[in-house]
Symmetry: C2
Subunit: 199 residues, 2 copies
């Protein structure tokens, strides 16, 4: 794209390397950045390096935090008996948005995927087992995604955790609230039927 | 969102301030940035400030460039007799992608819009008139968007340019190639019918 100046082309490529951003959107974003004031552009750039430098894994749950222990793990009002195991820090944010879950989390930072060469040793499994053995944990909720890797990881972890005397549960399958039955796949509909509740 | 660390929240807000990026996508992008290596994150931040510092308006056509005169304006093989007037530098990129237009451009950096308090004096109209009066320009193609503001700007400029002895033309209206007649609006379809060509 010789009709774009090099610094602009480079910025477009940076935006295009982000997930879900194609070349057209990247172009729109890059042109938008050029319309910002000098201070705004510098603030944007600073936020990227700043977040990248300051954010690290919580020493307890492995979620993202800028201190040693994250806000959730240092909240003594939460229920110590429950740990919700998730794939990524984004899943923690998703659960927090429900404002209903009051237990703690554990972030694996991935799922077991032999196809991609990812085994339990690449994930924060050891740290989870240590927490369960030390703390007063009564239940571990497997909240990995309902995919092949998510299921496999949930089953693998449950086999390690059950002998430690804790209850291991899995998120319920069913139709999403506000969804349309017509578009639900067969397995979801079957699970929804199977796990039906009396009203 | 107290469950996100402050630097992360700030980064999400920065992404969310970009056009067409909602809070969910912003979150996805910010979390992705945290998975980059230190070098990649710094390169991204650098590209933003670098593009913002180095990119300026071409002294001839007012499009974005990192030198005094842009690649297109300094290309002597192009057709000096034609100037294509567009709203923004992104439109220049769109025309260049056709690989068919060989003339020059002029970027107005906006459209006349009395509702938003934008008059001709806020746009690069003076510079266009100067170019038309000095150079060997034979035709000015009004390539502003087919909106109320785009039309008004095209008509305003044509009234200034015609007395200078140049041909002033407007992009053709019609059905977009690959489009579906069913979804074409009445005005577009009427224009396509009106401007039909013999085959």
């Amino acid at each position: 794209m010789s009709y774009n100046a090099l610094p602009l082309t480079k910025l477009i490529e940076q935006f295009a390397s982000l997930p879900g951003i194609g070349m057209k959107t990247a172009g729109r974003l890059a042109y938008y950045v050029l319309t910002l004031t000098k201070e705004q552009a510098e603030e944007f750039a600073h936020c990227i390096t700043d977040a990248h430098q300051k954010i690290k894994n919580c020493s307890v749950c492995q979620s993202f935090t800028d201190s040693d222990v994250c806000n959730i793990c240092s909240d003594t009002s939460r229920d110590k008996s429950t740990i919700c195991v998730v794939e990524s820090p984004r899943d923690v944010a998703a659960f927090e948005r429900t404002r209903e879950y009051k237990g703690f989390y554990h972030v694996l930072h991935g799922l077991i995927s032999p196809m991609d060469g990812i085994g339990p040793e690449q994930l924060f499994v050891k740290e989870l087992l240590l927490r369960v053995s030390n703390d007063d944990v009564k239940e571990v909720i497997m909240s990995t995604n309902p995919t092949v890797e998510g299921e496999a990881t949930a089953i693998y972890l449950s086999k390690l955790l059950k002998p430690m005397g804790v209850k291991v549960s899995r998120l319920a399958y069913g139709i999403p609230v506000g969804g349309d039955l017509e578009f639900a796949d067969e397995i979801t509909l079957f699970k929804a039927l199977e796990n039906r509740n009396e009203i």
